[in-house]
């Protein structure tokens, strides 16, 4: 399918495929993500009202509450988490949520760090696949 490849850095390894959901604004999952529905609910955020469950979420970094990780763990358990999270730079919050999801439920989701210029190539709605190596095809 894919005709372009970005070499991302795999922070938590895994493979996933889905529709990209791209934002250039940081997001707090606590107060920003409803794990019952997989919807972004932060009314200050441009993606408010958009469902991110099962999608490849491209976001620069996590902000705000340190409970972001716990919300993501709940989302993994409930099956409403993004399929993968791609950030610019290493985001420890998303990585931790994925690692604990692995420990608790054997369900890590890929967390990939991209160069800002590479992240800018991705657009909402693109079909994207993420590989264990950190390669992102679109």
């Amino acid at each position: 399918m894919a005709d372009r490849v970005i070499a991302g850095r795999s922070i938590v390894e895994g493979a996933a495929e889905g529709e990209a959901l791209v934002t250039t604004e940081a997001l707090s999952f606590w107060g920003g993500y409803d794990f019952h529905t997989g919807e972004i609910i932060d009314k200050h955020h441009p993606l408010a009202g958009v469902r991110a469950a099962g999608r490849i979420l491209v976001v620069p970094f996590s902000k705000g509450s340190s409970t972001t990780t716990a919300v993501l763990l709940e989302a993994v358990r409930a099956g409403t988490a993004p399929a993968a999270i791609l950030t610019t730079g290493v985001d420890s919050f998303f990585a931790l949520a994925s690692i604990v999801a692995d420990v608790m439920y054997g369900k890590a989701f890929p967390v990939i760090a991209l160069e800002p210029g590479d992240a800018a190539l991705l657009r909402t709605g693109m079909r994207v696949s993420v590989e264990r190596s950190g390669a992102v095809r679109f």
Binding site: G31, S66, T68, T69, A70, E74, S92, L96
Partner: protein, 421 residues
């Protein structure tokens, strides 16, 4: 490349039991994420993982507790999902209360101190300058690093408890002196003294700084007033809600910034970004999402109301009564309430018609009945999160505005200082 000490390796092999082994395995995997070359000791922790969200947070806590987890260092606990004694007065379901209480018990069983507050720096667990700690809770992290000069990374829920159990953290980030220098300069320009003295000023400035700072350490220059501790608390909470600020330097105020040069550790001072009155006015406006004057509830205490704040509130409400249509709720910690009681400042507040919720807050516990649609608060953190988390409308105002509005039964704000500024 990560090198583990003999003690770390022993813990990872299970020598200190299965809970410490599990916690160490998570710390070690995170050390790789952070790119750490070694782990280091912390001498204190604050656990934010106490907030009950659902089955996953409860299963995680009970898994650790059932494996025999014990904290290795003095550890305070953040808010929980329920006011154990007062939840029946509110819309909390018995099932939620029971599960949140189980999660509280799991963390108490680990030997942590039942502080149940998001302002642990206002309890006996306050760390000291330079102390290496592992803290969760975004406002507490920013306060500990910036106002006290203790050293913590921005620890997320689920990792904070692993650090408390192992007493070890990746030796990276804000634990290390060289990573604590300012990275971005924000300068107040022609912001009148009267505005800086207004009690909303630091919350509004914090909200704006959080948005401007991105993932940098901001240095704020040009503040010409001496903020009280609770104003710095409001600043930290606001900046850690609108942004990801874990450390800030207020030149001439915070301990690692006696001078502009010191805030940048002698490195090149960047070209400043200016903050003017119009920017502050716009930031303050963003904290209000309500458009009418309807008011169902005044909510104070995010972060938890301190004794100093109880003292400040008491004379404003003494001899007055809140309008019976408006609820007036203060969220606080057990210790703060006790101290306020001892100081004799609680009685006039209760006579005014205020209710007090302990151990939790309206964001962490589903306590508000559906008829509560419009809130008023002096907390930028409540103002930031309530519209999204509670689907309510909110008006941000000063403490005096909140009191006057509760008496009038509708939103009244004294705009004079913000309009003329």
């Amino acid at each position: 490349m990560l090198t583990l000490s003999e003690r770390d390796q022993a813990m990872l092999a299970g020598d200190r039991g299965p809970a410490a082994q599990l916690a160490m395995s998570i710390v070690v995997r995170m050390a790789a994420v952070y790119g750490a070359s070694e782990l280091m000791d912390v001498s204190q922790a604050h656990i934010d993982s106490t907030i009950y969200l659902g089955d996953a947070t409860l299963e995680f806590a009970e898994r650790l507790a059932s494996l025999g987890a014990r904290v290795a260092v003095p550890t305070s606990l953040n808010v929980s999902g329920v006011d154990e004694c007062g939840w029946k007065d509110w819309a909390v379901s018995p099932e939620w209360a029971a599960k949140a209480a189980r999660q509280m018990l799991a963390y108490e069983r680990m030997g942590a101190s039942p502080t149940w507050t998001c302002a642990p720096y206002q309890t006996k667990m306050r760390p000291s300058f330079g102390q290496q700690v592992a803290w969760g809770e975004s406002n507490a992290i920013a306060f500990a690093n910036s106002v006290i000069g203790a050293r913590t990374e921005r620890y997320p829920d689920l990792l904070d408890v692993c650090c408390a159990i192992t007493g070890r953290v990746p030796a990276v980030g804000l634990h290390l002196t060289e990573n604590r220098a300012g990275e971005l300069l924000l300068r107040l320009e022609r912001v009148p003294q009267a505005l800086q003295e207004d009690d909303q000023f630091f919350a509004v400035l914090g909200h704006l700084v959080g948005k401007l700072a991105g993932d940098s350490i901001p240095v704020i220059d040009g503040v010409s007033v001496r903020p009280a501790e609770d104003q710095l608390k409001a600043f930290a909470a606001a900046a850690a809600s609108s942004g990801r600020v874990a450390l800030f330097h207020l030149v001439g105020v915070t301990p690692e910034a006696p001078t502009l040069e010191a805030a940048f550790q002698g490195r090149t001072v960047p070209v400043p970004m200016t903050i003017g009155t119009a920017d502050l006015r716009a930031a303050r406006q963003e904290l209000t999402t309500a458009d009418g004057r309807d008011l169902d509830m005044v909510i104070l205490g995010s972060p938890h109301f301190s004794v100093a704040e109880f003292r400040q509130l008491a004379p404003l409400v003494a001899g007055r009564r809140a309008n019976p249509r408006v609820k007036f709720l203060i969220t606080s910690g057990r210790l703060m309430k006790e101290l306020a009681e001892e100081a004799g400042v609680l009685a006039p507040i209760v006579e005014f018609g205020a209710q007090i919720t302990l151990d939790t807050c309206i964001l962490a516990s589903p306590m508000l009945p559906p008829e509560i649609q419009t809130l008023m608060t002096n907390s930028a953190k409540y103002a930031y999160y309530a519209p999204s988390l509670l689907n309510t409308r909110v008006t941000f105002g000063s403490l005096a505005d909140c009191v006057h509005s509760a008496i009038e039964g509708r939103v009244v704000r004294d705009e004079s200082v913000w309009q003329t500024a």
